[in-house]
Assembly symmetry: C2
Homo-oligomer: 310 residues x 2
Amino acid sequence: MSQILVFGHQNPDTDAIASSYGWAYLERTAWGRNAECVGLGEPNEETAFVLDYFKVETPRVVESAKAEGVEQVILTDHNEFQQSIKDISDVEIMAVIDHHRVANFETANPLYMRLEPVGSASSIVFRAFKETGTAIPKEVAGLLLSGLISDTLLLKSPTTHASDPAVAKELAEIAGVDLEEYGLAMLKAGTNLASKSAEELIDIDAKTFELNGNNVRVAQVNTVDINDVLMRQAEIEGAIEKSRAANGYSDFILMITDILNSNSEILALGSNMDRVEAAFDFVLENNHAFLEGAVSRKKQVVPQLTESFN
Amino acid sequence: MSQILVFGHQNPDTDAIASSYGWAYLERTAWGRNAECVGLGEPNEETAFVLDYFKVETPRVVESAKAEGVEQVILTDHNEFQQSIKDISDVEIMAVIDHHRVANFETANPLYMRLEPVGSASSIVFRAFKETGTAIPKEVAGLLLSGLISDTLLLKSPTTHASDPAVAKELAEIAGVDLEEYGLAMLKAGTNLASKSAEELIDIDAKTFELNGNNVRVAQVNTVDINDVLMRQAEIEGAIEKSRAANGYSDFILMITDILNSNSEILALGSNMDRVEAAFDFVLENNHAFLEGAVSRKKQVVPQLTESFN
């Protein structure tokens, strides 16, 4: 039986790892397929906390499907090719489980594609377990719950779907954790930025978007105090300029997100700052500005940039 | 409550009309949304037979969503923008229900997208009725059954999924028809080509594909005798050349499909006949060649062309 790799996006966050881990389990258990969860990068500190908490081995990191001898892949928590495995165009995409917009994605053949505008890819994986009547092991429930908590900042982000709180409640019960207590501990584990170099910090959770011919990098870091991060502004700007030069990003936008008060400071550098300012109807001072109530890159940043760049 | 238009692809076939009719019904009944099924063109003769048989009014034809004052649309049985409503880029795509490859498709926002590699979009709509516990009215069952029969040539096409025969059986029961008897009558209703001009004939069921920078038109007609159609070759080639010139198609490929014996004759004209011949490993003689066992554009023609053109 040929092997299928299941993975989330590059720079994996907790939902990327959790949804691919859960879906690979489902492929093996519900459909008897030879599916393995792998990562397109090392887990971040939040995800490492989750894997350790639920005693799940870190998925091994792969860089090429072909090098693994694999012809078929399943994508979770992403669909845009530039966020996927580097040789994505050379393999068959069997399935996509995602909750993002669709862009820069195409296939030669029909496939299974399940996208819902919900809080996390893990929410969709949870529903597939229910529909197929597959029991959810404790550690899988723990991972899926963590993916949902991570992507919705404990159900506070506007990306939270009406159906997500019930999903979180049921998963927390199976996982045997208190939702609020576990959720806050998990999110805080991801805010330990002091140990990170500026280069690492701007790459913890960063995605590239092609906006009207521009390569725009949008990164996000979580913190319990925005000022802790802004104190390192000069160092961070240096890392951003280096990254722009090396990767050809026209613009680099860093969301510094306060997970306790649900706001973000936007630090932005690049060639299209007029469009960035227009997107959010603010004025950058010393390259940054406050974006009240914004915690979601997907809902409160990328669509606004897309419209402003077009 | 703002209105949502639900439609299949241009040059609608039975599955395009049936799946959009069924999904619009589901939107209204299961979720209380103000959804209307419309067509991106008049029904063909097979679909007209179906609508008449089940006493369903022909969906009105629309050309522009904006002209209807509509901001949100749902696509069934297609996703590629060039097969959709002309102002698809200006409206919000709320959902896609489809069973084709994905290409030339993107959104600014997350959406509901449900693609399965099954025989018809109607099969997926059927499953959504079951999942939401929505009763299927007799005429909706009749249309969904017809969509499945049409796309799979009565479950004989290789696009038929293992789950489709059971879907057909259940829908035939609800619709109160004998599957084989009704299916053959319906398919035969679509083979009445004598009344059609050559211009009409090559446009009954035609889709455009962008293959490596080439606009390739792939049309299909059903018949009970391939020679009946080939007798009109000169006239048909005239219509094809006129259509190529008017629409800028690099190539035009007509599948003349024998629904009784499940084979096709391929008639092809254009700039890339070497690639067409390589795609099917045959030699065109007098612009046509026999393709044994081929009845599915999606599975037996488009992927082969895609690979050969790349």
